[in-house]
């Protein structure tokens, strides 16, 4: 058990920190939430800068232009970009964390050549077409049909929770190619260009009032068969490859942000007056803050332990589900405390007086998605109890 970083890890950190110190202020202010063209430009522009500096695709193989950093370096990377307040992966999320890595493992040579360099340089934006209104946690029950017609598939269906659909060039799409087969065996993984006829995008505002998500309706959309990744009806296996990438080290930045957020709540608690004293003068409230800070430290130690274990085994540890569950629920508890510190200032979703109610409310509302997205807390508990603790599986109807 050694928590000290090696000389080469420290060098990696120092060089990255020096680069970020110049690059982040030079990239300008975050564009308005609803100005999608500006957001695409801002996020892809940052991706290009990462590429030019050799930091794009931190976990991608060198062969495909990535950095191929060790897991510990990835942890340092996410820690440093969070500390520096660097832009988030943003609209590049699906390409960098799902689509690209999936193509690297499962794509044909032509597919790799066509997409991987462009994703890495921020020239191509991807979105995800996995979930459907009737296929959420039970993703494999998806119904979007793909019927062969000569060299094309003809697609009809309805996708939901498609982030960044408005600005995406391509969609990683799951379709049913064999409706007769058992549900896991009739799915295929397609690359859908978003500029073809028959695609309708309807933004689906979240409870935070944002339009990051859309519904995507497909009506007789034609896609060449060569856009299929992997074999026909082998899409479920490929999907599991895709989802494994999602649960990598990328959470680390969010955890650092959460530690910063808790410190901001301490500052807010010193500003808020309750009756005749500051909120921070309340020993009970201080202990709650201390308690959450200790749990955040434990979470960070958990990440280090799971990164160290994965470095040896080469696969994300079984603990990934435990980290996700602990992190997302802890995040929501920090937000709840933030709301209680604000008191009635929390009735405003913008800053009131000197209080950061805008940020606290924004985070609190957004945090509600954390225990739902990327495998809900209930699904994580099923995974832990069945795959780690070995409890009898739920009956699985075919």
């Amino acid at each position: 058990m050694d928590l000290r970083y090696t000389a080469s890890e420290e060098t990696f950190r120092r060089e990255l920190r020096a680069w970020l110190a110049e690059a982040v202020p030079g990239h300008g202010a975050t564009p308005p939430q609803e100005d999608w063209d500006a957001r695409r430009e801002y996020d892809t522009g940052w991706q290009r800068k990462l590429y030019d500096a050799g930091y794009a695709g931190i976990n991608w193989p060198k062969e495909y232009g990535g950095r191929e950093a060790s897991l510990t370096e990835q942890l340092l990377y996410y820690e440093e970009i969070a500390r520096a307040g660097a832009p988030y992966v943003g609209v590049n999320f699906v390409g960098m964390l799902h689509g690209g890595p999936t193509l690297i493992v499962e794509g044909s040579e032509d597919q790799k050549k066509a997409h991987i360099p462009r994703i890495l340089k921020g020239e191509e934006v991807w979105c995800q077409g996995f979930s459907e209104p009737g296929a959420g946690s039970d993703l494999a029950s998806l119904q979007t049909r793909a019927e062969r017609d000569g060299d094309d598939y003809v697609l009809n269906g309805h996708k939901i929770w498609t982030s960044f659909a408005q600005v995406a060039d391509f969609c990683e799409l799951l379709v049913r190619t064999d409706p007769e087969a058992p549900k896991h065996r009739g799915i295929s993984w397609l690359i859908l260009p978003m500029d073809v006829a028959g695609i309708e995008i309807r933004p689906l505002p979240t409870l935070a009032g944002e339009t990051d998500f859309s519904e995507v309706f497909l009506s007789d959309v034609r896609v060449p068969v060569e856009n299929r990744v992997g074999a026909e009806n082998d899409g479920w296996r490929i999907t599991n490859v895709t989802l494994a990438f999602e649960r990598g080290t990328a959470f680390a930045s969010d955890m650092i942000h959460l530690q910063q957020f808790l410190r901001e709540l301490v500052a807010a608690a010193k500003q808020v007056t309750r009756h005749d004293a500051r909120a921070w003068d309340d020993a009970g409230l201080r202990r709650e803050v201390g308690h959450l800070a200790a749990e955040l430290d434990a979470l960070w130690a958990m990440v280090k332990l799971s990164v160290s274990e994965a470095s040896q085994t080469g696969v994300p540890g079984v603990g990934a589900a435990a980290v996700k569950l602990f992190y997302t629920e802890l995040y929501q508890r920090v937000c709840e405390l933030g709301l209680r510190i604000l008191g009635r200032a929390g009735l405003a979703r913008e800053d009131v007086g000197e209080l950061p109610s805008g940020k606290v409310l924004h985070r609190t509302l957004q945090s509600l998605s954390l225990t739902i997205a990327a495998g809900s807390s209930q699904i994580q508990r099923n995974i832990i109890s069945e795959r780690i603790l070995g409890l009898p599986r739920e009956p699985r109807p075919r």
Partner: protein, 328 residues
């Protein structure tokens, strides 16, 4: 950075685990339960295993390992509910002659904060030496000079306590810094023992949930039960990471705020062990509420350990104070 256990550490852990499994099975705990005196034979064997001299330099007859290693050892002692003032005797190695060899049984009481009322001391009747941590230093007291009354029914049947009337000041063994340091080390060791309780309760509860059937199915096949067990596992894993980090940070102080790290470990571990032990009783249903099924031992010991070397409330306040200083 490589936070995994090294091969040596795994061997250390496995060695102490198999010793405890063989030497302190549940039946032994049941026998010890009715005896108020410490089992000196077991104490000597623990000393031979290196439990007390683990961090003492080899030149002083110790094993020469670090606090991270000690946390691994104490997790195994906690897992098997090995009774006795283990952490105090371990802390006394190097301070009190005979502690490392197991010849002298050392207990202690932590009066670092405002003096508690009442003062209860664990295992007092079996001690050869009593350490007292006060804000201004570490003191050594002769247990025979302590006026105390036995508590007829201690919470943990394996942890007898005495209610102290008067506590002599004793002989100074170290200054305020030494007292603060011992308290931190004690907190790290207790966090290790509490981790052991987290692990043992997960194992017991999972095994029972697989075996016990109701409605024609193992109760562990019901989601309500699965989710309770999954939460126990998450608490165990958070505690593992925090407890290991606490021990390692004491050995490698450059990697972080030592006091905050140990404080967090103790706090998280104390809370997790109590919650896991309660959940373990819940999983066992009516049988969990009986004296005969030994899951209550874990909850009772968790309460004892959670109270030692700073409780959850104290450490939470301490972490908040450090956040405040950081901001200032």
């Amino acid at each position: 950075m490589d936070f995994q256990l090294s091969d040596d550490q795994k061997a250390l852990r496995d060695g102490i685990r198999s010793f405890c499994e063989g030497r302190v099975p549940v039946d032994t705990l049941r026998e010890l339960e009715v005896k108020p005196e410490l089992d000196r034979g077991l104490w000597g064997e623990l000393a031979e295993m290196g439990v007390f001299g683990l961090r003492l330099p080899e030149s002083d007859g110790g094993v020469g390992l670090g606090t991270g290693d000690a946390v691994l050892v104490f997790a195994e002692l906690g897992r098997r509910l090995v009774p006795g003032p283990l952490a105090w005797t371990h802390l006394a190695a190097g301070l009190v002659d005979g502690a490392a060899s197991g010849d002298v049984v050392v207990g202690g009481v932590d009066l670092r904060g405002p003096q508690p009322d009442p003062i209860l001391v664990e295992h007092l009747q079996s001690l050869d030496t009593l350490l007292v941590l006060r804000p201004d230093g570490v003191f050594r007291v002769d247990p025979r000079e302590v006026q105390a009354q036995a508590v007829a029914t201690p919470l943990d049947p394996l942890t007898p306590v005495r209610h102290v009337g008067e506590l002599p000041r004793g002989d100074a063994l170290g200054d305020a810094d030494a007292a603060a340091r011992l308290r931190l080390e004690g907190a790290a060791l207790a966090a290790g023992q509490l981790l052991g309780i987290c692990e043992a309760t997960v194992e017991l509860a999972v095994a029972y949930a697989k075996e016990r059937e109701q409605f024609g199915r193992p109760i562990g096949s019901f989601q309500a039960m699965k989710h309770l067990l999954a939460d126990m596992f998450v608490r165990q894993e958070a505690t593992r990471a925090a407890a290991y980090a606490g021990g390692v940070t004491l050995d490698q102080p450059d990697v972080g705020d030592v006091e905050r790290c140990v404080a967090g470990a103790k706090l998280v571990a104390g809370e997790a062990a109590v919650k896991n032990a309660r959940a373990c009783i819940q999983v066992h249903g009516g049988m969990g509420y009986t004296w005969e099924v030994p899951v209550h031992y874990y909850l009772k010991r968790a309460y004892v350990l959670a109270s030692q070397f700073g409780d959850t409330e104290e450490w939470a306040g301490d972490v908040a104070r450090r956040l405040d200083d950081e901001a200032a």
